[in-house]
Symmetry: C2
Subunit: 574 residues, 2 copies
């Protein structure tokens, strides 16, 4: 791979790009654009911005990612989780009705972009790994619940604001008396249609004789049909006069960025929120990208993904919109429409631009309640109770981390929830590694294999004890081995040689080295020699010059078998 391809991944597919490829990608883009328009507008409403901003967020970010990302099929744009996070972070700074609100969303996109690029530069992508399965699962379920709760105001045609579950619910209950009945009726009809279409459209199309692949793609058009149908009804019968809110006049010019509303102070206050948005967005996006890449045996480079997503977010900021990332449902639309290369992302973006410039009048009568209904239906499935049950069976501690994250996100806030979850995950991991499995091992008769004396019938020598610790040796468990060994030799006064079998040790840090030296010293003063066997290459490389190896009372053996032979056969020499 050339250097150019490394920093500009689009080269890998651009250099062999043919007219035939373009035709396939163009058709896929056309289908994708139609399906993505209502989705993008819906997420803009979710943030609390005008629907048209969702289109802004789908143009430059998509092009930036197509050129600099490494996935061939990932579609980048507004996504449910990051949109919700943007709303949560922005709300304490300004209400959506305030003109500063849009500026705050833009600043968040800008800062997320900077964070992603910085993480790429510092190779800090591994930080994303801190978001363990329980944390992500709890966070997504809580966020989905918050999103759904947040949509209820649109479904009822009322006003409600709040940073967490309690505030939102309270505000909603206060305003529920003002619910607009026609809006409520429309919402119920829309949700019913969406659920039915989602379940039965594809089978129906197949029954009608369409090829399965095409039926699957068209089967996703439920939201488009509902949005189209209701918009048509609204326009035909002027239902907006009954109090149903509609999208209304959508400006057909390009966005302007309110630079005069940006302040350094606000930016600094937005940093933690922007960091979380970028890291959660990154984790989600990379896992979606990988799931598609694996099917096609393609390769995703996480560090380059940081660049692609970082530039996409800077693009989002400079198109006056809000944070974006790679989304599962966006990408599914792309793939099932037959997208071959990232060119789809570029063409889709251009079609969005055309829509923005010339076709916005057709959205005039689109009811916001219908957009909310479509978000609600697609988001509800993210609340994953089965995962909690499965996790609980696997590990009670991890299930606790999930529940804690869920509850804190719901009742306190997003940042607090993620911090709680990560802290618990770390604590439980440390608890686990600081209670390592340690076994006294002996030789399986007639073999060179050594096994746990408690699980197998093995040969041992009362003067030689062999211990195997099934864990890395580092600060969290260094003293545990110390306790174990010193306790063992205190109980078995015959021991003259202690062999530490290092098969399962992948790393030794300074604290553990310290501990091993202490063990050696203390054994020495009790007249016992400490030997090491089966040390792995990378671990031995680090130990070579250490005081431990230089001052070790015993020897370092390549294999446990050699150790036992040397110590048993000629004990007088050792």
């Amino acid at each position: 791979m050339s250097k150019l391809e490394k920093y500009f991944p689009a080269m890998t597919w651009l250099k062999g790009y043919s007219r035939a490829d373009l035709q396939i990608d163009a058709v896929a883009s056309f289908i994708a654009t139609i399906l993505l328009i209502p989705q993008s507008m819906g997420y803009a409403l979710l943030v609390g911005l005008p629907a048209v901003v969702g289109l802004y967020a789908s143009i430059i970010p998509s092009i930036a990612y197509s050129l600099f990302g490494t996935s061939r099929t990932l579609a980048v744009g507004p996504v449910a989780i990051t949109s919700m996070m943007t709303a949560t972070v922005a709300l304490p700074f300004a209400l959506p009705s305030n003109e500063n609100y849009a500026a705050i969303a833009i600043m968040l996109a800008f800062l997320s972009g900077i964070f992603l690029l910085l993480m790429s530069l510092l190779k800090m992508g591994f930080l994303a790994n801190l978001l363990s399965h329980p944390v992500i699962s709890g966070f997504i379920s809580a966020s989905a619940l918050l999103i759904v709760i947040g949509q209820v105001k649109h479904l009822l045609g009322i006003d409600a604001q709040g940073n967490n579950f309690i505030e939102l619910t309270q505000s909603m209950l206060q305003n529920i008396g003002n619910a607009n009945k026609p809006t409520l009726l429309l919402s119920i009809i829309a949700i019913t249609c969406l659920v039915l279409l989602k379940r039965y459209l594809t089978p129906a199309l197949i029954t009608l004789g369409l090829p399965a692949a095409l039926a699957k793609t068209l089967g996703r058009a439920g939201p488009v049909l509902v949005v189209g149908g209701t918009t048509l009804c609204m326009a035909t019968f002027s239902l907006d006069t009954m109090g149903i809110k509609i999208v209304g006049d959508v400006s057909n010019h390009l966005p302007s960025i309110p630079f005069e509303r940006f302040t350094l102070d606000t930016m600094i206050e937005l940093l933690p929120g922007a960091f979380l948005i970028s890291i959660v967005g990154f984790v989600g996006s990379v896992s979606v990208a990988q799931s598609f890449a694996a099917k096609r045996k393609e390769d995703i480079k996480p560090n380059q993904e940081l660049v692609g997503l970082g530039l996409a977010n800077l693009g989002a900021a400079f198109s006056g919109s809000f944070p974006v990332t790679g989304g599962f449902s966006r990408s599914v639309v792309n793939v099932s429409a037959g997208a071959q290369t990232p060119m789809t992302g570029i063409i889709t973006a251009l079609l969005m631009l055309v829509t923005l410039l010339f076709l916005t009048p057709i959205f005039y009568y689109l009811p916001t309640a219908v957009l909310a209904a479509s978000i609600t239906v697609s988001i509800l499935q993210l609340i994953d109770v089965k995962d909690l049950i499965r996790l609980y069976r696997f590990s009670k501690q991890e299930a606790l981390a999930l529940v804690a994250t869920f509850l804190v996100v719901l009742f306190v806030g997003m940042e607090a929830g993620i911090i709680t979850g990560v802290a618990l995950s770390l604590l439980f991991f440390l608890w686990h590694t600081s209670h390592p499995h340690i076994a006294v091992v002996g030789r399986l008769p007639g073999t060179e294999h050594f096994r746990n004396v408690k699980r197998y019938e093995v040969e041992t020598d009362p003067q030689i004890a062999t211990i195997r610790i099934d864990e890395n040796l580092f600060f969290a468990n260094a003293r545990v081995l110390e306790d174990y060994i010193l306790s063992l030799v205190a109980q078995h006064q015959d021991i003259k040689h202690l062999i530490l079998m290092c098969t399962a040790i992948n790393m030794i840090d300074a604290s553990a080295l310290d501990s091993l030296e202490t063990i050696d010293d203390r054994l020495k003063s009790a007249g016992i020699m400490l030997h090491l066997s089966e040390i792995k290459g990378p671990v031995m490389d680090k130990l070579t010059d250490s005081t431990l190896i230089n001052q070790l009372s015993g020897q370092v053996f390549l294999t446990q078998h050699q150790a036992i032979n040397a110590l048993t056969i000629k004990p007088e020499q050792v």
Copy 2:
């Protein structure tokens, strides 16, 4: 071991205790008491309390630990680090001149005792393991420097207060003009004598024909000689009239506890400090206890140590003193005086009580500058630059954690320093485990051994790839394996079977299980089967009922050898 012995470890030595034992212990206790009196008074001054409080802290705590601790030789009482920590935590609440100051020290001892007992009850002793080698080393060096700086005011006979290095130094520089010249001269003489006696007393006694062991014990009497000599001079020539501060009237009655000054609010504010004091004290104490126990092939039970130290601290609180713990220099005194059993601790405590009740007048003329000199000389050796150099050679990251802890403790404060150090240690550990060593392995020709293809000449099959990851699989590195495997199969299109060799995997958490399922799914959709080999017993126990094993595209093999045989010889069956 009976249940009684488990909860009341003194039973193990009490039941065989003879008159001969008592004689040996009594002699050792007599020597230890003489050596410990100036030390204990010095640490009380270090806290900022009257010297006599150091005697209070040496009575009940010592008896409590002797009865409930598991070490036969550990001496519990006032210790440098915890005394310094007590001063640091207490100072923001009251000046030592204020009557509340003593109450705060007592509350800290009380809370430390509660924390230690709670940790024992909840088996949370492992939390102490978070204090990695770099954190402890940086913390001790910084504390030692702070202690020494704090003693300078006594050496110069001036006043100075401050929570950190800068505040202390500033306050000292402001007051340096008031330095008392006779005090300064006395300090210089005392330090010189202490250093010379420390170095030459033992050799001199040996030259004089004393047995080496006795010479060593008496060689520790330097501080006693200096303290005794200067006190005598002060008394004979009434030097206190020259402005040299003396200990003065020491009450010879038992302590009273100012219950009326305890408030719940203050207790709550003291919690973090008390927690740190107890955990740092515990770590120090256990390692001292173990170093002595190993020499005598005795057994230390960390959980019971928590009980012993917890009760010792409650004892310290109820004798109106300050937090205590097991100390290295206290214990050395005990051991070299010939202590056989914890009875020494009990007799020493009783001798301290006699001293407190009847002998305090002999301390009237003791100059505080001389106590400060003796602390300074013994503490200076704790500043360990060599350790930093050694650590830097072993691991740059850990050296950075040490330096960060040192600087933050020095310039910001104790809690911030420890939190910084622990956070950095965790981050570096996670960075390390999230960059695990992953190797493609092949068979050493003619053997059943499998080795890294990059290090050995091994046999491989283009259709079968075997991967060994040398790390636990958990959230911090789960996605790394995913990236590695998906990238590998994207580059080698011939692969039909992928074997994950699990020799080095000691734990798999839910995030990693998730990742393995994803890998399996993605390989499946690329037409590749995933197999597992050499899974360890405890890991397999957890996996047995998981969806991973139930839905795995390939098989689980006991050994890698079996896996290769099954997949190579009869590929049509698999």
